[in-house]
Amino acid sequence: MTVVAIAASMLLLFMAVPIFLVFGAGSAGAAILDLGLPWSTLIQVSYAAVTKPVLIAIPLFIFSGLAMLRGGIASRLVHMTTTMVGHWPGGLAIGMVLAMGFFAAFCGSILAAITAVGTIMMPKMIEQGYPAPFVIVLAASAALLEALIPPSNAAIVFSALTSVPVSKTFAAGIFPGLVLMVFLMVLAVWRCRHIRMATKATRQEVWKSVLAALPGLVTPVIIFGGIYGGLLTPSETAAVSGVWAVFVGFVIHRELTFEGLLSTFRQTAIATTVIFSIIAMAMFLSVILTYTRTPQEIISYFTEFGVTPMMFWLMLAVICLILGTFIEIVPLFYLTVPIFAAIALSFDIDILHLFVVFTAFAGIGMITPPVCVGVYTAAGVVNVSPEKAFREVPAFVVMGIVYGALMVMVPAVSTWLPKNLF
């Protein structure tokens, strides 16, 4: 019956049934018909997942990011980075990566970052002669940065699944996020080395742009100071950064309106429902895994066949690349992390190392067709057909695989900071 449920779920998935219902139907079908579990158990587990205190940080960081977008923080940040590096070869592309990195440190929403930074930068870049397909995929690759650089929703979900403190998972993503920024900048310079802005900003203009962006630059201080200074919990940090963004938008920049604030609440509610509905239903699956002892059986299978850690990483990379092509990162976490985490622990692999490698490879899947929300969102910003952007994807995939391999080979990039910070 479980096999039938899985097959039916796959069919429904490809027929465009909402993922949260695919998870719900497949898992509930197997749990009730095969394992004889009562509905009340499934509903209890589902509620326990949705009401986990750590997860409340997700809507709050999304709210914070959207408030920054509407309150003018994002536009000033983009202006600052372009003023600083716009005149370099491929300068606007570098500026976009830097702005994405900064914005990633403000909020946890991938699509908010693409909208915030992309809306301002992408038309400007295309106007300056940057190839539109490259600009779209570069903006979409922010998905990778957002998933790694704290505060990321991916890190919060990973913590909720593995019971690792969010502060540790956040710390694990910092250096890998910075390394990824370097990778993206190198690719941007190599691809667009012949394009640069005609005029270099004067020192006065640079300072002016930094001063304008200063209120926004306080946000990472609130987030990291709050969490690592032991002053606030991650959820409180998210809420305080949201209130700060509203204050800056209303009082300092005076760009946020009451309608804008209401729209921010509305969009946050929508984004939260999209993520949490998947979390609620995906937990049915974890019940099945627990009752069938699937992770333990896979571990004993691995031990029996002498699978090495390197073979495990290879399998993880292939699975993440394939599944990441079709499924978003949050459902992918719920689908595979309970199994991967159990196997990683049996190999004595640091769970934070797993987070970074997993996110690196799953993130690549987010820019590969057919399912690539990042590319579709970025293409929508500049009204270009997403299919046109697909030809630029291979270069980013190769870069992502090299980056992922580096993360596998050098675990210290992921584990050094959390070990030394706590």
């Binding site: 949260f20 509905w39 939260t272 429902t273 999209v274 949490f276 509905s277």
Partner: protein, 177 residues
Amino acid sequence: MKKFARKLGVLNDVIAKGVMAMGMTIIAFSVLALTGGAVTRYVTGLGFDWIMDLPPVLMPWLVFMLAGVLLRSNAHITVDFMPRYLSDTGKKYLSLFVHGVVLVMAIVFLIAGIDAVILFRELGQVIELEFDLPYWYVYLSFPVGFGILALFAIELLLIDLMALRPSGKMKKAVSPE
């Protein structure tokens, strides 16, 4: 059928506005509660634990209630792999199938949710915050949310059926924006 679909659409519009207002209120409350809790802890040395414990407990009332509204606006994450390879008519049939599946699942989850709420009400279990909150208050969002999802699925099914008529046109889904 057209008349019924229109009336159901009007009802669903009202429901959508109501649950969206509730969702926005929950988000606003969460932001203020956690910020206020942190500030009062530093100013007075005392934290209001129940205010800070409440936002996670309210999440089910946001998520399950809005699930139907998001179905209507096509905002849920889907793997839109197959629709790319279908003709316009094929897409209409697929949409009909998807909304039919959603309706069946919504009804199954609605019945299961009602059973679970009755069970937990009889058990009398409570969430131990600063005050005791009966579990079934939270669990109630499950059947209510899937009931709303069923209503929206019926509306979309009717629209699909009308679009499949020879002169039928697909009505554009209403955006929560």
